[in-house]
């Protein structure tokens, strides 16, 4: 405290220029860096998706070789999951958690900065694999052996990049937990905490639980590759399916790591624009916690076709179906929050509502996949691709966009261009359906995923899907332009920004001063 008191009487600003961004330990600066990084990765991952959809525009191979196509699908997934969605939610956590719980900063500011730069170097390493002999990893983001062991020079680079990302995520998670547990303002009991912070607290525990498992799995791949161990090599007494179990023990909680913060965001936005507190607050907290718990016992539903014993298939079917219950509670509570509310449709609300509808579609197709007999048909087809893109794009990504539209005036101090935002919304929401809905059809009709070329009967819907993809991608230029415009200027935003603001972040001026809540606020 003696050290901190030195700063107490004068709120000092950041250093100028590049030095600020290299050395800052301020949660808002680090949050901004995470968000900008995430946006850049969203565009790079989107570029890979563009190559994929351009090749699939019509039958035949026009643009790329099959091997390069596989690099595109693999890198698209790795970049979007670990580079775009996760860092975006970490950026939001950095910005908003201290402001929501009335803390001056994150608890461990230097570690905070370290975890950002680890992520930066992880992706520098991962993206540079395009320039080494053999090209980028091409075995899918699931990295199944033995196929992944056919990767060229990129192999150790990708593994090390994953190690760095994992370390970065674990540090970020520790920081969130320590901040929330220790630095809440007086009177802010856990069950008064805003739902975005709650969802992140639970997400952070998931990260700490599963990232080391993933790191262990890929390290075993590394020793199989370089030191002739046989963890996953049947000829040496190992088991290639073991990797799939380890991967999905990480991988299933990972999908909740991406979606729980999205749930938190939507739980902030729907009340604001319904002018009414969230319905069933405690049920929302418990539902999030149940989803997190269940996420640890459903992993093998990703691998029903590997030939599991009947008892295993039944267990994973039933546990998977159970997830529908707390997820349903959340959907119903959001709907009940709007019920007898006073609704208005500003851009954050539009994205949150699109989330509500389209995530539900993704959730329901997920329920269909829990049923093993039909999953034998769905598995590894475009039906699966459609499902997880519905939960990840109009699910997680829409929630992140909603969050940006919700808090951008608080970050920049300027209102953004509402008309442009609405254009962005409608174009994005329409094209995302043109892009992903037809993929249900081709999947059911028998088109496998991860193929660069397809039989003639899938041609029509693939072309529709590709048109949707181009429209969706181009619409994001509006998003980037809107953010740049808003950062540069615009009508000044009030402290509350919205008509019915609720929560501590709306009690500080806009833009939020460099240091907020150096004196703890009182929460009643």
């Amino acid at each position: 405290m003696a050290h901190a008191s030195h700063h107490d009487d004068h709120a000092h600003g950041p250093p100028k220029g590049i030095v600020r961004w290299l050395t800052t330990t301020n949660h808002k600066d680090i949050g901004t860096m995470y968000l900008v990084f995430s946006l850049a990765m969203f565009l790079i991952g989107g570029l890979f998706a563009f190559v994929i959809r351009a090749e699939l525009f019509q039958p035949g191979l026009q643009l790329v070789d099959p091997a390069f196509y596989n690099q595109m699908t693999t890198m698209h997934a790795l970049v979007m999951v670990f580079g775009a969605v996760m860092p975006a939610t970490v950026g939001l956590a950095n910005w908003m958690i201290p402001m929501q719980i009335g803390a001056a900063d994150m608890a461990l500011p230097r570690m905070n900065l370290f975890s950002f730069w680890l992520l930066f170097f992880a992706f520098t390493l991962l993206l540079s694999t395009f320039f080494v002999p053999g090209g980028a990893p091409a075995a899918g983001w699931t990295l199944y052996p033995p196929l992944v062991l056919q990767t060229g020079e990129a192999f150790p680079m990708a593994i090390f990049a994953i190690h760095l990302m994992g370390a970065s995520s674990i540090m970020g998670a520790i920081n969130v937990i320590v901040t929330i547990v220790n630095m809440r303002a007086p009177g802010m009991t856990l069950l008064k905490m805003p739902l975005f912070s709650w969802s992140w607290l639970i997400t952070a525990y998931l990260l700490i639980a599963v990232m080391p498992v993933f790191a262990g799995g890929v390290t075993m791949l590394l020793t199989d590759y370089f030191f002739q161990t046989s963890f996953f090599n049947a000829a040496g007494g190992g088991d290639p399916v073991l990797f799939q179990h380890v991967f999905w023990f990480f991988g299933h909680p990972e999908v909740y790591i991406m979606i729980l913060p999205a749930f938190g965001i939507v739980s902030e936005i729907i009340p604001t624009f319904s002018r009414k507190p969230i319905f069933g607050y405690e049920a929302m907290v418990y539902a999030t916690a149940s989803i997190a718990f269940l996420s640890f016992i459903v992993w093998a539903h990703h691998m029903f076709t590997v030939g599991m014993p009947l008892a295993g298939q039944l267990f994973f079917t039933l546990s998977t179906m159970l997830i529908a219950v707390p997820t349903g509670v959340k959907i119903f509570n959001w709907t009940a929050t709007m019920w007898r509310g006073s609704l208005s449709f500003e851009p954050p609300m539009l994205f949150a509502l699109a989330f509500l509808f389209l995530f539900t579609i993704g959730g329901l197709s997920g329920l269909m996949m829990a049923i093993v007999p039909s999953d034998f048909q769905y598995h590894d087809t475009y039906f699966i691709v459609a499902h997880f893109h519905y939960v990840l794009v109009p699910g997680a990504v829409f929630a992140i966009m909603a969050a940006v539209y919700y808090w951008l005036p608080k970050w920049t101090g300027h209102m953004y261009d509402m008309r442009l935002a609405k254009w962005h919304f409608w174009l994005t929401a329409i094209f995302v359906n043109v892009l992903f809905f037809p993929q249900h059809f081709v999947g059911l009709a028998g088109m496998p995923r991860r193929i660069p070329d397809y039989a003639a009967q899938f041609a029509d819907w693939n072309m529709v899907s590709s048109i949707g993809a181009f429209g969706f991608g181009l619409s994001q230029i509006l998003f980037v332009w809107l953010i740049v415009k808003c950062a540069r200027g615009g009508a000044p935003a009030t402290a509350g920004v919205w008509d019915w603001p609720h929560g501590l972040e709306w009690t500080v001026p806009s833009p939020a001063p460099y240091h907020t809540f150096q004196k703890s606020p009182e929460v009643h």
Binding site: L63, N70, S274, K276, S342, S374, T381, I451
Partner: protein, 279 residues
């Protein structure tokens, strides 16, 4: 501002119209839904899929209906005032926790029954071993000495090369044709043993309903059976990413009546014996 809003509405209408306009392309139901298939298992899987699809559609209609009603009825612009006392309702919350559990139990029971049947390979009359290679299949009729490789047909392989200048539309069964198809008897329970020589592959013919991974070092099993009245040619593909040419290792199965199959197998056996004698 008003003009912009009208443009927005128009673009929504245009988008929906464009989607509807593309519907004629889907007039063929087989292009948008799971095939009913030609075996007992595939029909049961199809019926399970359709039950789930309808239940999910009904749930979606009800949930979306409530959401849309709220969005229309409780608009601030229409003068709606928020009821800020509406914070929870134990009875309602219990209902929307318990009712889904009951629906799920209702879904689970038939699926368990079907699953038990699917996993029961007993009583099969013929065993065929399929081995996945990068990037072709090998089939062995166990106990008969008949064994052969099955690769993508030359016509598809030429057309699929980048810059081949061949229009895929001019190729018969583009990417779904092989040089030597698997031949099976109709009306027979056939046990398939699946394994692989290099990386993981998956054997899948949608009309048979089943898909299973072929994993090096493991032997997986599943059974297929083609209806006696449905002889014909059925096509599928490898369904597990297996490297660069994953998209180019099709599966073609010709189902023949029992007697024709026996004749075919005898001829294959004779050819195999003759080949062995010359070596």
């Amino acid at each position: 501002m008003h003009i912009a809003n009208r443009f927005l509405r128009l673009s929504v209408v245009a988008g929906v119209a464009a989607m509807l306009a593309s519907l004629p392309a889907s007039a063929d139901w087989r292009l948008v839904n799971m095939p009913r298939g030609v075996s007992e298992l595939s029909r049961e899987i199809y019926s399970m899929h359709m039950i789930m699809l309808w239940i999910c559609t009904i749930i979606a209609v009800l949930t979306f209906g409530a959401m849309i009603y709220a969005m229309v009825r409780f608009r601030k612009s229409k003068g709606a005032v928020a009821d800020q006392k509406m914070l929870h309702n134990a009875r309602l919350e219990a209902a929307w926790t318990i009712i889904p559990v009951l629906i799920l139990v209702g879904m689970a029971i038939p699926s368990v029954e079907k699953l038990i049947k699917i996993e029961d390979t007993s009583g099969s009359e013929l065993t065929i071993k399929a081995t996945g290679h990068q990037w072709f299949w090998q089939y062995e009729y166990l106990g008969t000495g008949v064994s052969f490789y099955s690769r993508i047909a030359r016509s598809s392989d030429l057309a699929r090369q980048k810059g081949s200048g061949i229009d895929p539309a001019t190729v018969d069964n583009y990417l779904l044709d092989v040089d030597k198809p698997l031949v099976v008897p109709t009306g027979t329970k056939i046990r398939m043993l699946l394994t692989a020589n290099d990386v993981i592959h998956a054997w899948w013919v949608p009309d048979f309903g089943m898909k299973r991974d072929a994993i090096p070092g493991f032997i997986n099993e599943m059974w297929i059976s083609v209806d006696p009245d449905k002889p014909g040619t059925y096509r599928g593909q490898c369904a597990e990413l297996c490297g660069a040419d994953h998209g180019f290792m099709p599966i073609v199965v010709i189902a023949k009546p029992r007697a024709e199959f026996e004749a075919w197998l005898a001829a294959e056996q004779a050819a195999a014996t003759a080949l062995a004698a010359t070596e």
